[in-house]
Symmetry: C2
Subunit: 209 residues, 2 copies
Amino acid sequence: MRLYSYWRSTTSYRVRIALHLKGIDHEVVPVNLAKGEQHSPGFAALNPARGVPVLVLEDGTTLTQSLAIIDYLEGIQPKPSLLPDRQPERARVMAAAHVVALDIHPVNNLRVVQRLKAMGHGPEETAGWMRHWMNEGLNAFQAMIRTDTPFAFGDAPGLADICLVAQLYNAHRWGLDLTPFARLTEIEGNCLALEAFARARPEAQPDAE
Amino acid sequence: MRLYSYWRSTTSYRVRIALHLKGIDHEVVPVNLAKGEQHSPGFAALNPARGVPVLVLEDGTTLTQSLAIIDYLEGIQPKPSLLPDRQPERARVMAAAHVVALDIHPVNNLRVVQRLKAMGHGPEETAGWMRHWMNEGLNAFQAMIRTDTPFAFGDAPGLADICLVAQLYNAHRWGLDLTPFARLTEIEGNCLALEAFARARPEAQPDAE
């Protein structure tokens, strides 16, 4: 399978981590979002929403949306599982992941920030916008997870950890003060010590600049 | 179980539809977002992210995030199923749902619009902001679904239809031109003809104004 990915895209980063955790062979095809390659007609035919990640299967089926792609990977390669088998534990891990994936990331997405700039807001203001939503969301995330485990919900990383680590890459990039989030940076350290996370890092990608 | 809900909240609307489709008994507890009731200390203790919906189970367990709550409902009451059992069909339905739930709704959320207003943008500009993201996302959604079925992906409504119907409530409310989306309003009509959708509508809620 082929993963269309951009090194700095945190949604691509989530899928890269899941692929490596599950040991699924794949090829990475870089799409340069900064140069607008996602708006080319060829790419729009692949993904009408014109974003990464996109996973193309051997039979040509295209899958989009990072969490839906990860759901597919769970289906074809259930081990290691990224969500608990039982409810309501499963829904609680998913909810923490969704605080990052729905409450933080979409509001800070490249196209949203580009639109804010078109509406007259400068780089300082848009960086402040991003930090605001990260701060709000990470506060909620930190209140939702366990306090006594190496990872957000246990002894192995799962969907909440994947979303967290990708989001913290952006938090570092945009200068968020992480002092109130010691628990989160502790989990980040535990994750990045694992080979699957390290191989998925933006800096380890073929298109890293 | 108790569902904390606001009549106009489209994420609450999603969960209400799922509860009615599955025939799960529940009590609705209104939370007035317009009056800021989600920011009260009592509510923040229930949901650190200070939003609705929140589902409180009989044993006191609290579940947040609409899609995670629906995943829980799928777990405890699998029929009727809201997602295909098989991959990659399941991931494709989920991806369409996520275009609404991740690409459109979070960027148009009440708190985001309130922040834009605090940054000096008036009602016309914020309504234009909302219509922009709805137009982009619904275009992608329409390109991702089937063209020959009563519902987005088949003969019964599923997660993509649920997210669509809730989003179209907002599209009507904010005056989006739906002329290019005839396929979507056709699906909306088919959904709202079902009792489960009709009972979940904002106008049918105890706190509707």
